[in-house]
């Protein structure tokens, strides 16, 4: 893949943890790759399959969902549901060989600025390596 490919990644960040974690990474002046378009959601359980599929079918090269660690959800159980939904969609992508690696879920707490930077940088590298998502540039789809 040509090295000037700049991926377009959608990041759904939970307001209470990962979004704050992103803030912390920023205010601590950590280096974070600039490919993530952040969408703040009130809880990782706000994410449903339609949102992820919309992103992947209409322009995103990758989708990152980040929420509070299990047990720490602001709404107590939201991320457990989110985890199931993620597992379900991932399994569909795996079964149909629809490049499941373009979808990731990571737990990042409000105090984990460093982890946030690592997660985003690693995922960005992986997506860059994968190259552009073949779906959304294909006029036959």
């Amino acid at each position: 893949m040509s090295s000037d490919f700049k991926p377009n990644i959608v990041g759904f960040l939970c307001n209470w943890c990962s979004y704050a974690g992103a803030d912390l990474a920023g205010s601590s002046k950590m280096e974070v790759k600039p490919y993530l378009s952040v969408i703040r959601v009130m809880c990782s359980s706000r994410i449903n399959s339609n949102l992820v599929l919309t992103a992947l079918l209409w322009g995103a090269d990758g989708v990152l969902i980040a929420g509070c660690h299990p047990g720490d959800c602001h709404y107590e159980q939201g991320n457990y549901y989110a985890r199931r939904r993620f597992a379900l969609l991932k399994k569909i992508m795996e079964t149909l060989k629809l490049e499941p690696d373009r979808l990731q879920l990571s737990w990042v707490s409000a105090s984990e600025g460093k982890r946030y930077a690592e997660v985003v940088n690693k995922f960005s590298d992986e997506i860059t390596k994968m190259g552009p998502n073949p779906i959304h540039k294909n006029p036959k789809i």
């Binding site: 399959s49 457990y80 985890r83 993620f86 379900l88 569909i92 795996e94 079964t95 990731q104 990571s106």
Partner: protein, 370 residues
């Protein structure tokens, strides 16, 4: 050993006799069964309250004009039936009904569930073909030998889940060699036994699973594995998937016919998914071309993510597709994969919550740790 009712009539007549008894004795107020509509071979589900209307009922006819689970859900959604109704339906229809009840879309109360060991159904579009007689006699022969009839839906030929779960009564058809002379109806529940009390026939004890049902099961399993493997050859990956659905009209008929798709307003028919002029514009801006109608892949993947974990493998979706897309091949395959992940068996246990509506704290531990 299970209890069973043995009737010295051919299997369909035996069942009809029982249905007539249920009506006559006022144990039930109505019968829900397939019925002949005319001489051209048209068959539809009917509700029958008058004994005379039972003439022409063909409860075991191998057609599924609509998945009965969906119909029973419509009947019982607003209110449970006040008086008992006996419903004759196939195992996948019963599974669908149970899945719908779990989603608060109906009620089992006052319904006597009569199902059968199922040999499968013919595709709907062959219903009026002139060869009906010939096909049904070869179907009957296959059933006796516990073999697959080549005329039934592809999905049926690879369905290894043909013994009903949760039925009050089960009519034996698979491997029933003397189906022309004798009818066996298993009484699986207390409710089944109560309704059959005083019905003409003898009570015997017998086991529904036999070497015959096992034989068919393993054949069907084999077919299923082959079906899934074959799909991989052509349907894998984004290019394969879009090839499978290339001819899709976006009519959403598959979802309309699917018993699990119950939403009154489907997401994909709603304003949110409508293409507006600016949607076309922005897509064309980065694609330079756009397949019309747009959004078909989104529809199938989205619908799948909503319901495939509960797919009961009835094959309705393939059957109704106007452009012969093997929708059920994809949905049953993905369904099986999802059911495996969640250790979920659609329609098996009415108390078991639908996977998306529950969770366990100690599961999917590896998820999220990246």
């Amino acid at each position: 050993m299970a209890k069973a009712l043995k009737i010295n009539k051919n299997t369909e007549e035996g069942l009809l006799q029982l249905l007539e008894f249920l009506l006559d004795s006022e144990k039930v107020e109505g019968i829900f069964s397939l019925k002949k509509l005319n001489k051209n071979g048209n068959i539809a589900y009917s509700l029958i309250t008058n004994k005379d209307e039972l003439k022409g009922a063909v409860p075991l006819d191998p057609h599924m004009p609509v998945n009965a689970g969906k119909i029973l859900s419509h009947f019982t959604l607003a209110e449970k039936t006040k008086r008992p109704v006996a419903a004759v339906l196939r195992p996948c229809e019963l599974r669908a009904f149970v899945e719908l009840i779990k989603r608060a879309q109906g009620s089992l109360e006052n319904i006597l569930l009569i199902s059968l060991s199922c040999g499968g159904v013919f595709p709907i579009d062959t219903m009026n073909n002139g060869d009906a007689k010939k096909r049904s006699s070869s179907y009957a022969e296959s059933l006796k030998k516990a073999e697959n009839s080549p005329d039934v839906r592809k999905t049926c030929q690879s369905c290894d889940n043909f013994l009903p779960q949760l039925a009050d009564m089960t009519v034996l058809t698979v491997g029933k060699k003397d189906a022309d002379k004798e009818c066996i109806i298993y009484l699986n529940t207390k409710q089944g036994e109560n309704f059959a009390k005083d019905a003409p026939g003898n009570t015997i004890s017998a086991e529904i699973e036999s070497s015959e049902t096992e034989k068919l099961k393993s054949k069907r399993k084999e077919n299923k594995e082959k079906l899934f493997k074959d799909f991989e050859k052509t349907g894998n990956g984004i290019s394969g998937f879009s090839r499978v659905f290339a001819a899709c009209l976006g009519c959403h008929g598959c979802g309309e016919a699917c018993p699990i798709c119950y939403c009154t307003l489907c997401d994909f028919d709603s304003k949110t998914c409508e293409y507006k002029p600016e949607s076309y514009e922005s897509e064309l801006e980065h694609k330079g071309g756009l397949k019309i109608p747009p959004g078909t892949l989104f529809y199938h993947l989205g619908r799948m993510s909503h319901m495939a974990v509960s797919c009961v493998a009835c094959g309705m979706c393939s059957d109704v597709c106007p452009v012969n897309i093997p929708v059920a091949d994809v949905f049953t395959k993905v369904g099986a994969a999802l059911q495996d992940v969640f250790q979920y068996s659609p329609g098996k246990d009415i108390e078991e919550p639908v996977p998306s509506g529950t969770f366990k704290e100690e599961e999917f531990k590896e998820v999220g740790e990246h």
